[in-house]
């Protein structure tokens, strides 16, 4: 094996940890926040829906990279020290939660009305109707698209490299630059190829899982 492979591999592996941590944080934040927002979208109060709808439309409609840069530049204006990990996590969570909210709203509204009405007739208040009747059924419909979103968010974490986070992509990019400076050869094909393989290995099983869930649950 050529000499450069060892150091580059361990450097890029460190970046991979950052990527995985960022993916985990933004997925958890997106699912938690998105579930709440999606449920709010099914409420009868018009003003609640209008506020949440505006949030969803803005963060879903904007290119995610613009959201990331916006957060990155706005944090210092708000007096918060710039941290690329935090900026990336917030940006990804804004985009992710808006998408999760749409999935959850669709799933909740796909549960037949009679289910909720029957529970109401039995004297269940709203919270318990949601918890015991609507959400268990909605989860089955929401699960396949949610797994798809997890794949999407994992891939979008690579955008953090553009605002300078030392993730797997940025680490490989810096390795390529150093190799070029040191020996003239970039080795960009094997290094970037390896990054592609890493993402592929993470995402393919999840994609297959999403497809299988769709078949099993519907």
């Amino acid at each position: 094996m050529p000499l450069w492979v060892g150091p580059v591999a361990s450097y890029v592996a460190q970046g991979l940890w950052t990527t995985l941590l960022l993916a985990l944080v933004s997925i958890v934040a997106s699912v938690l926040l998105g579930t709440v927002l999606g449920t709010l979208l099914t409420l009868p109060q018009l003003w609640v829906r209008a506020v949440v709808r505006a949030y969803v439309e803005i963060w879903r409609g904007l290119p995610i990279i613009i959201t990331l840069f916006f957060i990155f530049f706005v944090l210092p204006v708000l007096g918060i020290e710039v941290d690329t990990f935090l900026a990336a996590a917030i940006g990804l969570a804004l985009w992710g939660s808006a998408n999760v909210a749409e999935v959850v709203r669709g799933a909740v509204q796909s549960v037949p009305r009679g289910q909720s009405e029957a529970a109401a007739a039995l004297g269940f208040p709203w919270q318990r109707r949601m918890r015991h009747v609507i959400l268990p059924q909605a989860t089955r419909r929401a699960l396949p698209p949610l797994v798809g979103l997890v794949v999407n968010l994992t891939q979008q974490t690579s955008l953090a490299a553009v605002i300078g986070l030392l993730d797997v992509l940025e680490a490989s990019q810096r390795s390529i630059e150093r190799l070029t400076l040191a020996g003239g050869e970039t080795h960009a094909v094997p290094i970037l190829g390896a990054v592609l393989v890493v993402f592929f290995v993470i995402c393919l099983p999840l994609t297959i899982l999403s497809r299988r869930l769709e078949r099993v649950l519907q």
Binding site: I66, G79, Q155
Partner: protein, 226 residues
């Protein structure tokens, strides 16, 4: 709010940079238009080949779809721009721009069209075959005209994503709208003015596109479902 901390909002600032931003927008529209049109053609052709179950071809298409759907678009862009020159293929920012969008979008539209063609009710195809149509012309007469309409809503979603993802080209310093605007922010720190401006442009165009595609979807919806 944050503006109270002494941030002095000057919307007029954007107008000083209007020519540069307009130029960026043109580049965004150019790479998006080629990428979207290409993704549409790739999706239709490969989707049809996939649905026709041509052996070998179907498996090759499957590989293309899985590779491009399960890796990040940004890494694909980096590979095209930074790795291909090593094997003697130097592509310009513009070429990488539309080509990466075409390849990425195509991988999604192939799947959508294939699913659309395969969702066409089997009875129609059987009726065609019973009337003596060949397999290929039965496909042309039933699966294609009905299937593309079934696929339309999911395809238009992908095409809108292709437009939004043209902003990824900032990573290779191709001066489209996002790159131009961020470049100005980086030297002027006019964060809110510029983000408001490009935010309105992107959201406005996305909104216009979804209005347009909704009209197209209504026009071509299959009466009575499928």
């Amino acid at each position: 709010m944050f503006l109270a901390q002494g941030y002095d909002f000057q919307p007029g600032f954007v107008f000083d940079h209007l020519p540069a931003l307009a130029h960026g927008l043109l580049r965004t529209l150019a790479i998006s238009a080629i990428g979207m049109a290409g993704a549409l053609v790739v999706g239709l052709v490969l989707g049809a080949l996939s649905a026709l179950r041509v052996p070998v071809v179907r498996q090759v298409i499957r590989c293309y779809v899985e590779v491009f759907r399960n890796t990040p678009l940004l890494v694909q862009i980096f590979f095209l721009y930074f790795a291909l020159p090593d094997i003697g293929l130097q592509l310009s920012g513009f070429t990488v721009g539309w080509l990466s969008l075409l390849l990425w979008g195509g991988a999604y539209t192939v799947e959508n069209f294939r699913a659309g063609f395969e969702a066409v009710e089997h009875g129609y195809v059987e009726a065609c075959r019973a009337l003596g149509f060949s397999r290929l012309s039965a496909f042309r007469q039933t699966n294609v005209p009905l299937g593309w309409r079934i696929a339309l809503p999911s395809v238009t979603n992908i095409l809108i994503s292709v437009f939004k993802n043209s902003s990824f080209m900032i990573a290779i310093s191709y001066p489209e709208l996002t790159e131009t605007a961020i470049g100005i922010v980086a030297v002027s720190f006019r964060v809110f003015e510029l983000f408001a401006a490009i935010g309105i442009v992107y959201l406005g165009l996305v909104w216009l596109m979804s209005l347009g595609t909704q009209a197209v979807e209504r026009r071509f919806a299959i009466p009575g479902g499928h």
